[in-house]
Symmetry: C3
């Protein structure tokens, strides 16, 4: 179980890093800039969570594998941009898997550091969406997650399951699997159907919309 989690964690890191690197290449950053965006997109959420719960130094800084995986993703994207771009649909599926894992694992870690369930769920969501927000802010764009379809809400649904599970005394492994599946499922369905949240002044809660790029 521990090994499996590590593998998924690093896979999620890789996929999030791909999204950062892709955005960096599109905006014509140089190689270093692309690597910074890879690393930021892959780790910013977890690093912020760790700072907020007092897990110092943050694991993504102290454990070289996160940086190594991020750099690998950045280099692959930099020199093989066309191939990565063509793989966008599979990447989006991995991205949903990474989001699900980061959200439930982040909630678990926040609970383990003594946070109450409500802030733990918020920190779990932040673990999932923080990297994408950092990526967009560094590119001087309004974070996609603030105006896109169900992305953060999927993360929050997953992290809430874990937080409620801990309140109810459900074994953590069970609530983490359920939470991750809920997040992943919601995200995939939202992409397929173009679900998104309402914007003020529009009539319907859920409108259809074109599926879009990597978050």
């Amino acid at each position: 179980m521990g090994t499996l989690l590590s593998v998924i964690d690093l896979a999620g890191t890789f996929v999030f890093a791909l999204s950062g690197a892709t955005a960096g290449v599109r905006r014509r950053l140089d190689l270093f800039g692309v690597l910074v965006l890879s690393f930021a997109a892959a780790t910013f959420g977890g690093v912020t969570r760790d700072l907020l719960i007092g897990a110092i130094p943050p694991v993504a800084i102290a454990d070289w594998r996160y940086a190594a995986v991020s750099i690998l993703a950045g280099v692959v994207t930099f020199y093989g941009y066309k191939a990565v771009d063509r793989l966008q649909n599979p990447v989006l599926v991995f991205d949903a898997a990474g989001l699900a894992l980061f959200a439930v694992a982040g909630t678990d870690k926040a609970l383990a550091f003594g946070m109450n369930p409500a802030p733990a769920a918020v920190l779990g969501m932040l673990s999932g969406i923080g990297g994408g927000m950092a990526r967009d802010v560094l590119l001087s764009e309004v974070p996609t997650v603030l105006r896109s379809e169900l992305y953060a809400v999927a993360a929050l649904a997953g992290s809430t399951v874990v937080a409620l599970g801990s309140l109810a005394g459900v074994p953590m492994s069970v609530s983490m699997v359920v939470g991750a599946c809920l997040c992943f499922g919601l995200r995939i369905i939202a992409m397929r159907r173009g679900w998104h949240l309402p914007i003020a002044g529009q009539s319907s809660i859920v409108r259809e919309r074109e599926p879009r790029d990597i978050e």
Copy 2:
């Protein structure tokens, strides 16, 4: 006194959250984005202060009431944008009150965590203005506070009174009231008269200008 402070603190949080939500609705963020902006505008200053002084976890993360009040303000703004927009003048007065309270309470907290008076005053100011800066950066705008009328300076005046008061051995409650009144008064007068700070290359230190929107 403690209860009164709590009430004002949450009221300040609410008003700061309104400014974040209003900015989010204007920029066409979705509901989640509006709530993130509410929360960021209400809490980013205090969270940053807490990280810098080692008050982990930051109170605005650990205490659910800050998130609850922020979300309430966000939802109210989202579904009642026109009404909130019409209330802009009273909101600006509350915003000045929130700024005053955050500045003096932030200074007090920094002093309580062992900071020297000068950094404590800066951290008090940061508690007051940090949320608005985060709101603007998330919207990919240059923070208003960096180019507007006397907003940060009012906060700094209030926090400096508290810091100097602690040096001089004045009872904290006295210097906090004086500091808050100074900040609030300066801010209100600055809004009324359109006072602002100089821009390099312009001749006068203080020019008249149109009063402007929520900071």
Copy 3:
């Protein structure tokens, strides 16, 4: 040696603050905004490093001299913008010296707080480049360091020397001098020759380019 380091450290702070203030004046910020940019450009890298390694409160917050030097640089730039602007070439040389010092001293501090060599080198680089990134993000621009010539890479080269030196048991003073000289030399040569990193899709690794403004 300690005094010399302090002097260079504050000199680096001053020069980095100049770059923040210059950018602020150009974007028509008011006096307060210019001072915030001075302080952010001078200290953000070190503050972030300190948060990540648990050196709380960060030295640039707790020690008033960093703020004083930053404010001095901001005021000088604000009221003497033309003179500062004319001194750009000497300022760039000092900027390279500040970068070199911040990178090696930041690595040294991260090692002293128990970080492994690889993250210590990254944190050293971050100490050097973080301020410029914060300056650009506050001005709603994509950080220059993500798309410019050899700036971050020079910092990373210097910090890597210090990290490898600590692994190899070389006396810290030796590896810091070697690392700082390497960083400074690389940066100066890169400016002179217009060296920069590749952008995806371009053929050559290193192209000639016009030397450019303060990082």
